[in-house]
């Protein structure tokens, strides 16, 4: 048992921090909560790519570094600690690359991986549909094969960043005549293809990262398919474990966590720092306990991956706990700030640059995206504890 990172990993951590500090000093970015999903900056992603920090766990032959998942953990932990704008490459680095490596053909690997690594192309995820949310396998976007390839028709929804990305990693129905889990395939589609239209969905923070994506007789080549035709469901299940278990699940609002601790130390309450108030101490300490527990749960998933094992229930477990922690973080911060907490970021009197109110508004989505907490608890109960299916 060893709860330390290696000296090499710690020096890598310092390298990442030094880079981020200098970028911040240059005014390239300002720490933001949720920057992994709303901080879209192709320029910044290209810089990260030049550092070799996209696809660092991928094989060297495709431009990766062949480094461990624990090394990547150090990187992602620091990117999130600083709230750096990494949304452009985040999905690609987290799950699209690994899927292409596991299921793609040699040609697909050679075509896409180096471009992802260099920060040249950015992928969105086309999974949910209006009638296929938690029941993802009910998806209905059809891919019909003809002699030239496939013709796509249908609609995706809640597609983060579809208006800024160049590709979409799409889950489609290739066989409607078999049980629903058995007729699904995965494919890569150029978002500039004729017949695709992207329509914004403004979320309750007022921000736009969600979209609806419509497919109207979109033609794609046969080579668009990733992995085995009609076996996409099995591929998705593994991919979702990557999606669910990254550091962002516990650290997306880390800038707020730091800010509220600082606020408690610097704000006076009845003549002494707010942080001396027993109730405030208990609440901030409880958040610290939960944060440390959550971070270890995420570390454990990376450790399981580094052992070449599949985190088949650990990812669901970690995501459930960590996203609920972030909701509690947002709520506690709002309560500590009192009436100021309701002020929107643009208000002059807004506390903490409006970080708390942003987190308060955005965190309800955390327990929905990438598997609702209910679906994840089902997975944990059945896969993790062996309870029988209903």
């Amino acid at each position: 048992m060893d709860f330390r990172f290696t000296p090499e990993q710690e020096s890598f951590r310092k390298e990442v921090r030094d880079f981020l500090e200098s970028e911040m000093a240059k005014g390239i970015f300002k720490p933001r909560c949720d920057a992994w999903i709303i901080g879209h900056s192709p320029e910044f992603s290209r810089k990260i790519g030049e550092k070799g920090w996209i696809g660092m766990t991928w094989p060297k032959e495709y431009g990766g570094q062949g480094r461990s998942y624990l090394d990547r953990l150090v990187l992602t932990e620091e990117l999130l600690r600083y709230g750096a704008p990494v949304a452009a490459h985040w999905f690609s680095d987290r799950q699209i690359g690994p899927s292409i490596i596991t299921y793609g053909t040699e040609e697909q690997k050679k075509e896409f991986l180096p471009k992802i690594i260099n920060g040249e192309i950015y992928f969105g995820l086309g999974m949910s549909e209006p009638e296929a949310g938690s029941d993802l396998a009910a998806l209905n976007t059809r891919a019909v094969e003809d002699e030239n390839g496939f013709v796509l028709n249908g609609q995706k929804v809640w597609t983060s960043g579809a208006h800024s990305f160049n590709y979409i990693y799409l889950v489609v129905r290739t066989d409607p005549d078999v049980p629903k889990h058995k007729g699904i395939s995965e494919m890569i589609v150029d978002l500039n293809s004729p017949g695709i239209s992207v329509n914004p969905l403004v979320d309750m923070t007022g921000g736009r990262h969600f979209n609806e994506v419509f497919f109207d007789n979109v033609r794609v080549p046969k080579t668009a398919i990733i992995g085995k035709r009609n076996e996409g469901w099995k591929q998705i299940v593994a991919q979702l474990d990557y999606e669910r278990s990254g550091m962002e699940r516990v650290m997306a609002n880390y800038p707020l966590f730091e800010a509220i601790l600082k606020y408690a130390k610097e704000t006076k309450y009845k003549g002494q720092p707010l942080s001396k108030h027993p109730l405030i101490r208990q609440r901030l300490a409880q958040l610290t306990v939960e944060f440390e527990v959550g971070r270890l749960l995420i570390y454990k998933v990376a450790w399981v991956l580094s052992q070449k094992r599949i985190p088949n229930y650990e990812a669901s477990l970690a995501k459930t706990f960590c996203t609920e922690f972030q909701q509690r973080l947002a709520r506690t911060a709002m309560e500590i700030l009192g009436p100021y907490s309701q002020l929107k970021p643009e208000s002059e009197r807004a506390a903490l640059d409006g970080m708390a109110v942003h987190s308060f508004l955005i965190t309800p989505g955390y327990t929905l995206q990438a598997g609702t907490s209910e679906v994840l608890r089902n997975i944990l109960a059945m896969r993790g504890l062996g309870l029988p299916a209903a």
């Binding site: 208990q282 650990e314 477990l317 109960a381 309870l387």
Partner: protein, 377 residues
């Protein structure tokens, strides 16, 4: 980073599981609740023969040269089995205190006896306002003609009735801070002026009030430096909080396993209740709590083993498991239904012990306050 046990630890775990399954059934646990001594001497002897008491002591003191993490593996299994008896106070409290602070003579005399199962020992430090810090201590010890005379009342002393040796904390000098002027003394069984009265606790776990009335102990019974006992005691209390957390982890894991298997067997509305999502989600929440416990607790045990400063790690662990175990028990009881509410069921054994363990060495509030200090609040 490595979250796995070594091969030796896996073997130790299996050995402990097998031994406790056969030698410490719940029937024995129940008998020992009513037994005055609270332990079965023949099992105590067998545990000593297996090398458990001395596991974490160096070989030169008759120990097994193991680590605190090895000891944690054992405590995990003991918590699962609800092992009754004085292992914890003897090994974790007294053993670690002697190992940390004892003179060579004291270590050579006492540790081999503990390792052989021939000496039961405990620590008496908490008094009438137990916060598990230096402010707890108001018992005094004054130097009189080459001896120390101890006066005061200690509370919640584990297994004091059966202890051959009590390590007691006392104030030997007034200091400007609570932590100053504390010393530790070895008080042997039968010393005049020591009165032990059992406390009737819900876990029937043999805690006691110990009154020291003009108890005279010779100078050589001082454990560690005069007036400077707090660093040792503070460290022992960290070991204790971490060790108690590990024991709780074993308990709560067993509670989950009992609950999951009951949910698979119990049929209502024509199917096992474990098929129902409400039940599945209770179980999932327990699993989340427990996986968190495992990581945060073993992190503390590991940090102690590495001899790192780890006040924060220990406090994180005890704060989390104290609350998490209670949450899990509420779900476990809910799933077991009325049968789990009966005295003859195993679940109440865990329910009662979990509360005792939560209260021992600082509950969640106490440890959250430590976390607050450690993060600079």
């Amino acid at each position: 980073m490595d979250f796995g046990f070594t091969e030796e630890q896996e073997m130790l775990k299996k050995m402990a599981r097998d031994f406790l399954t056969s030698r410490c059934p719940k029937k024995l646990v129940r008998e020992m609740e009513k037994d005055e001594k609270g332990y079965a001497p023949e099992i105590w002897k067998e545990m000593a023969e297996l090398g458990w008491m001395g596991l974490a002591f160096p070989e030169k003191y008759g120990g097994g040269d193991g680590t605190f993490l090895d000891l944690a593996v054992l405590l995990d299994e003991m918590g699962r089995a609800c092992l009754p008896g004085p292992f914890f106070p003897t090994v974790v409290l007294a053993g670690m205190a002697i190992l940390e602070a004892g003179s060579e003579t004291q270590k050579k005399e006492l540790l081999p006896q503990i390792a052989q199962g021939k000496l039961i020992a405990t620590l008496a430090t908490t008094e009438d306002s137990p916060l598990y810090d230096a402010s707890d201590i108001s018992t005094s010890a004054s130097e009189e003609s080459g001896n120390f005379v101890i006066n005061g009342t200690k509370l919640f002393v584990q297994d004091a009735q059966t202890a051959d040796l009590i390590i007691v904390s006392a104030r030997t000098k007034k200091g400007s801070e609570n932590k100053e002027g504390i010393s530790l003394f070895l008080v042997k069984k039968g010393t005049a002026g020591v009165t032990t009265t059992p406390l009737m606790t819900i876990a029937a776990d043999k805690q006691a009030e110990v009154v020291f009335n003009k108890v005279v102990v010779p100078k050589e019974n001082l454990l560690g430096e005069l007036h400077n006992g707090w660093p040792v005691l503070g460290k022992v209390l960290q070991y204790a909080a971490a060790a108690k957390s590990v024991e709780m982890l074993g308990g709560v894991q067993q509670v989950l396993e009992m609950t999951v298997s009951y949910a698979k067997e119990r049929v209502q509305f024509g199917k096992p209740i474990g098929t129902l999502q409400a039940i599945q989600h209770y179980c999932a929440d327990m699993a989340i709590d427990i996986d968190g416990c495992r990581l945060i607790i073993y992190q503390a045990a590991w940090a102690l083993n590495e001899n790192m400063p780890c006040a924060k790690e220990v406090a994180l662990a005890k704060a989390w498991v104290s609350d998490a175990y209670q949450r899990c028990l509420i779900s476990a009881h809910q799933i077991h239904g009325a049968i789990g509410f009966t005295e003859d069921h195993d679940l109440p054994l865990y329910y009662r012990r979990a509360k005792a363990a939560e209260l021992a060495f600082g509950d969640a509030d106490v440890h959250r306050e430590t976390v607050a200090c450690e993060i600079g609040l």
